[in-house]
Subunit: 174 residues, 4 copies
């Protein structure tokens, strides 16, 4: 069971649709997955579930449990302000350390409306996950100008599809 | 007027005390400053002040206005999970673009209880601020093992004091 | 006097032509500049001018002197293997520390034949220059797919020209 | 067979001794390894084995062959000027693409005389190796102030030994 994390809390985020699309790719290859949508986080979790309140927010604890029970993760990472959304790191800051990610494995997919494809975002996240002891799969597709290549259901860009396929194929065996 | 941003919402954060300490250094050199404490952010701002709700949270807008009216910033950046706190990036994600930071200047100070002094955190933040068009002062003190060198009021480590003094001196003229 | 450093030793590098182009931009704005071409480095400098041989290679010392006598630098940085050319860092490794770059200023321009525009290269270089105490100008044009937009003499892409102009204008006053 | 790459061409580099030490750790765990010492590179390889001269330097080609025939690498990475030595990247720039590293695996070890333990160097290298399609083992020991903890034969710091042991143990199975 692979957990796909939608790395933003934006309403109607393209990330969510990409997550569904990636779930389809995994399914065709015989791999089950579940989605974790940061939009569903308790709205005040940055204050009610971190630091001195760590573990005290039951709704947030449900997210924690799902993470702790997973061994493999896919992160869908939109580019905001030259890196990944702050809420994704806040979510990570609220997880149990080191049980959540240590000795586990993840794959990263970057999205952007602009031309960078979240390149720096994926670099920063790799630093963080390596720090937490999680192995990051080397191939990290950077889907730039995503709105030109994705209609919400299908990706029309062949290179993007090849990269995602290659990543999914390798990550299942990683 | 320099705005010092306390980069975490943790209660009783050492960052807040370092911010006061740094304010003292600036004052001795004749530079006025104000503090902006992320702990005071509306608890649900990640949901009520970003994206489709941008500009709609009046309490968050007060933070926005202070940022827009400042030309120089000092960020006190504690290390969490190998980078800076997620809430700091979420705060940045809620600011007005590009008026908030473009063509402005900032200085960064890293803190950690461990040995790294938030080195990667400062690297990630530099990427973000450069992306937003803000110049980052080159000297970025990394105050590792801060609890051994700071009693909440005074820093006892001479090297740390020299670095902070050198940074403050240069940043005022930057 | 601004020193423009051509960040590769490749023969017929597009970086050299971009350096000339940028020199033209600076000249129109009234700023003099000189070129430093890594292709002219002594071929064995990585062995004859570093570490135990620091300062012993007279031809390399001429490069050192030019760097030490400059206050402002522009680096033309092609993307190789996901970062900047190794020879550029080897060149930096041979310079005098800390006189070469401390408290000086630089601007960075990334080039790539692919779509990334050397984004990670510029991030890595910023880390290095900040470590060495050199301020990096925030605007760092990333000229991706350069061969589609530059004929060796003129850049035809308007956005690229605007970014370079904006950078040059700001850097002269930085 | 694991290939351990000594990431500098400095004479009497501590990296070489650490490489031997690490080879001992691997051997105790039943894993064979060979050393590749960048000090042995042809002195002018940056000019005679790259770009237009790719593949033409027979002595450099011997290095290439060793890399192409290896599936797992350990990089011993000393910190120079806030990142890794330029010669290591120049070496990478001379290798065959993409056969050298694609779909292979590596582990990184950082060394520094100062307090940072080459943290940024390892981050930059991870970006490069991931770009080249090589998976990087998450645990990357940062051996700061190495001269206080290593006499050239044995590491006296227990934490360092634990980290290296944990890394080697995991990397053999990675």
């Amino acid at each position: 069971m692979i957990t796909i994390i939608i790395g933003t809390n934006r309403q109607d985020a393209v990330s969510k649709n990409i997550a569904h699309y990636y779930q389809g790719i995994l399914k065709k290859k015989g791999a089950d997955s579940q989605l974790l949508d940061l939009k569903e986080l308790p709205k005040d979790f940055a204050f009610s579930a971190l630091y001195e309140n760590s573990g005290k927010n039951q709704k947030f604890n449900d997210f924690r449990t799902k993470v702790e029970n997973s061994e493999k993760f896919v992160f869908i990472v939109p580019e905001y302000n030259g890196s990944f959304p702050g809420i994704l790191k806040t979510f990570i800051d609220g997880l149990k350390y080191p049980d959540s990610f240590s000795q586990k494995k993840c794959a990263l997919i970057g999205l952007s409306s602009g031309v960078q494809g979240a390149g720096l975002a994926l670099s920063h996240l790799t630093d963080i996950f390596n720090y937490l002891g999680m192995h990051v799969f080397a191939i990290k597709p950077k889907l730039s100008q995503i709105n030109d290549h994705f209609d919400g259901k299908e990706i029309s860009n062949n290179l993007y599809n090849e990269l995602l396929d290659q990543q999914a194929e390798g990550f299942i065996k990683f």
